[in-house]
């Protein structure tokens, strides 16, 4: 049985930090850069982390440790790691990579940008940023729920175990690039990006526009009002929508503290 | 308005014709629900030959008063009225129950003119009658719907669903009658399934319930008059009758719920009916 701190660490590692790829790409921080950037943390069972392989700006995310990363941010204490990503501290972890200043700075910029985007309580002003934030959240939530299942979080695992092969999707009208989905089958889960086109998903949470999506994701609005105003349409039975909604909030609760 | 003596005697004469016709039809069919047909025929006579607004030329006249004989097995009784009114051919009575006949124990509304519902499965008639009464109100029509039930039939829960709804809706354009002949197939009603206190039950369901002698035209007529006048509650008229009334060997005997009549019994029955009729006319003349 994991404790809340562990769930939080796991979600930061595998649902939040991977978003650096999308952010780096959107703002061009990694343009022209090559090398390996790694973030890691000491957890009770050992060191865990992930790394990004950059090749002339193209980013590949690998959910494991690299032998010799060019840039490495390592958190010696789990508490520090959690607090950092909760936004409670700006104290930096152990940094290696001053030999590649360009890459290092790009990493910091990406981290800072991620902090500001995800910590925002109000929606961004311009559309491209709105799109990005929605995409970030949907990837975060889909990966987060999948990760909780893998970790054996009781309520998520129970649901996934009983599930026949089903796909749960999130989408925003007119913005297919923000879509994400989660496939679940007999205890297994897989978070994926984009629209599921093989057949109609078992359940879809469809937002009328970016603002509607943001109001749910930034928690400025609520499900019921949005549904009544038809800004949020649940395609599929309400009971299953409620379940997914609960899991979204569960992920949120861990990463917001 | 009270019935005149002449009218009463005319009704008795008509009822007598019909009783004879019932025995005759049972004889031709070989057997039939004699008891229940004879117990109800007086009330049916009063309805069809005095109270009900019908068109003898058109059994489907939309404005007609409706009659639902919920105790569908008494078809052998009702059919004599239909023949007398000319809705069916008198000769057809001789084919009752025979293969290919349109007349069988339970009259088929889709085949026999003048039958407003195909009853036979007991307990349905009151609901159907209620539907017709509701339709009348919905379409702004004045017709009255009469529903005649058997007393044993009132064992069926469906009857009470309909009664509850009728009472609840104050459906005064529906008049319920019960042929309380105190007998059913397996025995007397109170031995098989107690109905008493029977009138109280109807009252409890929101009816203005009355019990009258089911062989007394004047009494039945007064009850119907009272029922028609009431606008606050629907009425139930419990007709206290004798199963097989008029045929001495059948009267009051539950075994004549359904029985066979051969030539000998037919002759005896007719003799009994003649005597019964004479006595009743005498009583009316003397009164």
């Amino acid at each position: 049985m994991m404790d809340d701190a562990m769930y939080a660490s796991q979600l930061f590692l595998y649902a939040v930090i991977p978003l650096m790829k999308e952010i780096g790409e959107q703002y061009g921080y990694f343009r022209g850069k090559s090398g390996v950037v790694q973030l890691s943390v000491n957890l009770p069972d050992g060191v865990e982390g992930l790394h990004f392989v950059l090749e002339d700006g193209a980013v590949t995310t690998v959910l494991s440790l690299h032998e010799r990363p060019d840039v490495s941010l390592h958190f010696a204490r789990q508490q520090h790691f959690n607090d950092f990503f909760l936004g409670k501290t700006k104290k930096m972890p152990k940094i290696q990579g001053f030999g590649k200043p360009g890459l290092l700075i790009a990493t910091f910029r990406t981290l800072l940008k991620m902090a500001s985007l995800l910590a925002a309580k109000t929606p961004p002003a311009d559309e491209p940023t709105k799109e990005l934030v929605v995409r970030l959240y949907l990837y975060l939530l889909s990966r987060g729920i999948s990760r909780l299942n893998r970790l054996g979080h009781p309520s998520v695992r129970e649901w996934a175990t009983k599930s026949p092969d089903r796909v749960y999707a999130w989408r925003v009208e007119g913005h297919p690039d923000t879509a994400a989905y989660l496939r679940v089958k007999a205890g297994k889960s897989k978070a994926a990006r984009g629209l599921y086109t093989r057949s109609q998903p078992f359940f879809t949470m469809r937002f009328a526009d970016l603002d509607s999506a943001l109001s749910i994701l930034l928690q400025t609005g609520d499900f019921l009002t949005l549904t009544a105003e038809k800004r949020l349409i649940l395609e599929g039975a309400p009971e299953f929508g409620a379940k997914i909604g609960d899991f979204m909030q569960l992920v949120g609760s861990y990463i917001q503290g | 308005m009270q019935l005149s003596r002449e009218k009463l005697i005319a009704l008795e004469n008509k009822a007598h014709e019909l009783r004879r016709s019932i025995v005759d039809t049972v004889y031709h069919a070989g057997s039939g629900h004699l008891g229940g047909a004879l117990s109800m025929i007086d009330a049916v006579t009063l309805l069809y030959y005095h109270r009900m607004n019908i068109d003898r030329a058109n059994p489907k006249w939309p404005e007609r008063d409706r009659f639902i004989m919920s105790k569908g097995h008494a078809g052998i009784g009702f059919v004599t009225v239909l023949a007398d009114l000319g809705y069916i051919d008198r000769e057809d009575l001789k084919t009752f129950n025979l293969t290919g006949s349109k007349l069988g124990i339970h009259l088929d509304a889709t085949r026999v003119p003048g039958v407003d519902a195909s009853t036979g499965s007991l307990g349905h008639g009151l609901s159907i009658a209620l539907g017709m009464a509701i339709a009348a109100r919905m379409t702004g029509k004045d017709y009255i719907t009469y529903c005649l039930l058997g007393d044993g039939e009132c064992n069926e829960g469906a009857v009470w669903e309909a009664a509850m709804a009728t009472g609840s809706r104050r459906q005064t354009n529906l008049i319920t009658l019960v042929d309380r002949n105190h007998a059913m197939l397996d025995g007397n009603t109170e031995d098989v399934m107690k109905l008493e206190p029977f009138q109280d039950k109807w009252t409890a369901f929101g009816f203005h319930a009355q019990t009258v002698n089911g062989h007394d035209f004047a009494a039945i007529d007064r009850a119907i008059g009272e029922a028609l006048a009431r606008k606050d509650k629907p009425s139930c008229i419990i007709l206290d009758t004798v199963k097989g009334a008029g045929v001495d060997f059948a009267a009051g005997d539950f075994r004549w719920h359904y029985g066979a009549i051969n030539e000998e019994l037919a002759a005896k029955a007719n003799e009994s009916l003649e005597k019964y009729h004479r006595e009743r006319v005498a009583a009316l003349e003397g009164a």
């Binding site: 595998y14 790829k21 995310t61 959910l63 889909s142 990966r143 990760r147 009983k162 026949p164 092969d165 089958k185 297994k188 889960s189 897989k190 978070a191 990006r193 093989r198 057949s199 109609q200 078992f202 019921l224 549904t227 009544a228 038809k230 649940l234 599929g236 039975a237 309400p238 009971e239 299953f240 929508g241 409620a242 | 939309p62 639902i68 509304a109 889709t110 519902a117 036979g120 499965s121 307990g123 349905h124 009151l126 609901s127 159907i128 009658a129 209620l130 539907g131 017709m132 509701i134 339709a135 009348a136 919905m138 379409t139 829960g157 469906a158 669903e161 309909a162 509850m164 709804a165 609840s168």
Partner: protein, 333 residues
Amino acid sequence: MGIAYTSLDTTKLSTAEVYAHTLCEIAQEDPRIVTLTADLAKSTKIGVFQEKFPERFVNLGIAEQNMFGIAAGMAACGLIPFTCTFAIFNSCRALDQVHTDICYQNLNVKMIASHAGTSFGQAGSTHHATEDIAIMRTMANLVVLVPADGQEAAAAVRAAIEHQGPVYIRINRGFDQVVYPQGIEDFQIGKANLLKDGSDLCFIVCGSAVFSALQAARELEAEGIKARVLDMHSIKPLDKETIRKAVHDTRRIITAEDHTVVGGLGGAVAEVIAESGMGCAFRRLGIQDTFSPIGYHEDLMSIHGIDTNGLITAAREALKMDFEEDDDWADEV
């Protein structure tokens, strides 16, 4: 007894209310339309009609047998009554009235039977209707329709009114997946809707299974399998011609229904196949002669093998093919 909907439900009742709104539209022009319910106005959605035409609506309380008798009486007087109750009560509790008062007398009563199959899963077998298609199709004079979604239910209502005689329309609880988003132009009693053409196999389906079949056909297409999908909304009269054609063209028939496999759509199709003299692979999907456990409708459909996955599996078996696309379960990052 009533139903408690979650507040989320109340904002998404469109598929269930479609038929009720259609009825209101028609009733606006046709004064013969009246409606009845047995204390289920809210659940069957006929409450919509009640609000618009209170004088043409009758609530009989919890007394279904009475309701059907009354409907018969009303129809005998020239009205067109629509009864609205749960399919289980329509087909079991009040069957004597349906049989004797309505079908035998060929009266113009239109029966809306809702919460069909296991759609009211949480309520358990007392409220599941898993035998009604079989029961109702044995009634002479009765037309039996099983629409797939709200729009088809509305079309069924229109067709029912135009039809002279009793009609049984079987619908779900109201949370159907949409099969006909634009509605249906040419709904005809006795004529199946060809939703997808194909010659590898044919899904003959009705009600909740139609959506499953469409999704299954789509997924199978990606594997190169072309499945035909027939929305057999008319169980009676049955489109025998189209069934025979499907048998001939595809040689593999899979029926699916939210109903027992005994005597329902599967049974009806089997009768046609057997009499046709043509050979084919044949499989009936549905509830395998058992009472259903409690659960959400979608889960029960999965348990009974009539959801998309169930149909795909059956299709593959029919084609004797096995696909494994289960290797990569890593999250995409």
